[in-house]
Symmetry: C2
Subunit: 297 residues, 2 copies
């Protein structure tokens, strides 16, 4: 039984907080939105300001949007890291550049804290079931200190070594591929439509062919069903592919497919579809070629 | 027991001819290279000029490189279609634009022949085991006439309707995705290397994550093993993605990911790696960023 603070109760963070609670931990949820903690309170969790929560906690799980928010909630003027008892652990779960993870780890260690670079994957449903994949890197002591939280939140913990940064690097590799594959799904379905193929049949055939991908099988059915209720929103991708692109630039590595996919997601945001399911990138293609997708009048 | 001519004894065509032979059919293999039919002869098959072979055959399977070769072997000055007995069937297996498939079907039907638009997928190993996937479209009579050959060559026949062209269109959709996914695999592995990640571990983690694809799981291990012996050569992709790109242009559909991937495969050919396994596209990235891949001295 640990005391665990969860900062950021979006769909992922809330699911993680609930999984921690259901595993029997004392869980304090922190979010700027008043109502965000309600489902957690209903299951015996608590809510409160991050600094006060962190001061009572063994583990602080940060599940905010990006690197800037992560840095602010941990080490900003109202940051909570300084309130955590020495020997406590920080799990940083947002997708951030590896160099940011290394910098935050050094700051945490200077305060006598453990830091686990621990980006998450799997979506909100798996977060609520305690079945996330976590790409984790940190010292052995950080893994040990984070153990109760990892056990409750994850089905799979990929141990990527003793140095923070490797978790974020692997997450970036995954996001590069996932983002490119979603845009490729949109490109392929629009292409199929332009050739008069039935989209439902196309999804059936491609899903059992060499052209398939995890993202194709997951997202293409959304297009067939004209269902753009956001499981994962378009706006994730300008952010995550932007991170990939910036890291690659620093490394002198051209990433033309990442850039092409980024351009398509940017176009989807510009068209007003940012809050829709990321399968809506297919519409960017359809609009350009004057094609009608399922659900178009 | 049918008499079946197979034109084009490359790695796919030879495997298909052997599968047809092993199913008990009389099989005549045709190839411009003298030695190409040897393995077929060793299993009781025959060899000969395409016109003479076609004149004796119930079914002619064309497995040549592209649209121009398909048109030449069937309807060129020495083409064999005119020699096939009325009621005979042509299976056209090369990847060609849908409009070419429609045109060739019309020519075949004008001669009283059945034409099945029947692109293949699965690679040489599956061709030799009679376990290909075939994306087929044609009249019901064409399917009936092609039946003995389909049964012997394919594990899965996707019936894409009664009009030639749909098989080729679906194959193009598959190739769009497959080509983009191979280039994305190379982009992702080079990115991982630039961030200091171990490539073998990267392949393990990504293969069970949302960034995975059929092509990632199949090709990334080639890079880890530095094994570029060609199961499928780089040169396939400038051809197949060129077809996709041209079809998309005709339809007014921008295909930025296809174009980005095509550029990387073109660069691999220009670097002298055209005959290597298509996973060698990873080297285009590595060279651009000065990264060392497994096998680099």
């Amino acid at each position: 039984m640990a005391v665990i603070t969860v900062i950021g109760l979006g769909s992922m963070g809330l699911g993680m907080a609930l999984s921690l609670r259901r595993a029997g931990h004392r869980v304090i949820g922190c979010d700027l939105r008043e109502d965000a903690a309600k489902p957690l309170l209903a299951e015996g969790g608590e809510a409160g300001p991050a600094r006060e929560a962190a001061a009572q906690s063994d583990i602080v799980v940060s599940v905010v949007l990006n690197a800037a928010q992560t840095e602010a909630v941990l080490f900003g003027p109202d940051g909570c890291a300084a309130a955590i008892k020495p020997g406590g652990a920080i799990l940083s779960c947002a997708t951030v550049p590896p160099e940011v993870a290394r910098r935050l780890a050094a700051k945490a260690e200077a305060l006598g804290l453990h830091y686990l670079d621990a980006p998450i994957s799997g979506g909100a449903a798996k977060a609520g079931q305690g079945k996330l994949s976590i790409m984790a890197a940190g010292t052995e002591a950080a893994f040990d200190a984070a153990h109760p939280a990892l056990d409750a939140m994850a089905e799979t913990v990929h141990d990527l070594g003793r140095a923070a940064g490797a978790g974020s690097a692997m997450k970036a590799v995954n996001q590069l591929l996932a983002g490119v594959h979603i845009a490729a799904m949109g490109e392929a379905l629009a292409f199929a439509k332009s050739q008069g193929l039935d989209l439902e049949r196309t999804v059936e055939v491609i899903s059992v062919s060499a052209g398939s991908s995890w993202m194709f099988e997951n997202r293409a059915p959304h297009v067939v069903a004209a269902d753009y209720a956001p499981r994962s929103a378009v706006t994730i991708w300008p952010k995550d592919l932007g991170i990939v692109s910036a890291i690659a630039d620093d490394a002198g590595l051209p990433v033309p497919l990442t850039r092409a996919a980024l351009g398509q997601f940017d176009a989807a945001v510009a068209a007003g579809w940012g809050a829709e399911d990321d399968a809506a990138v297919t519409r960017v293609y359809a609009r350009a070629a004057g094609l009608r997708l399922p659900g178009d009048d």
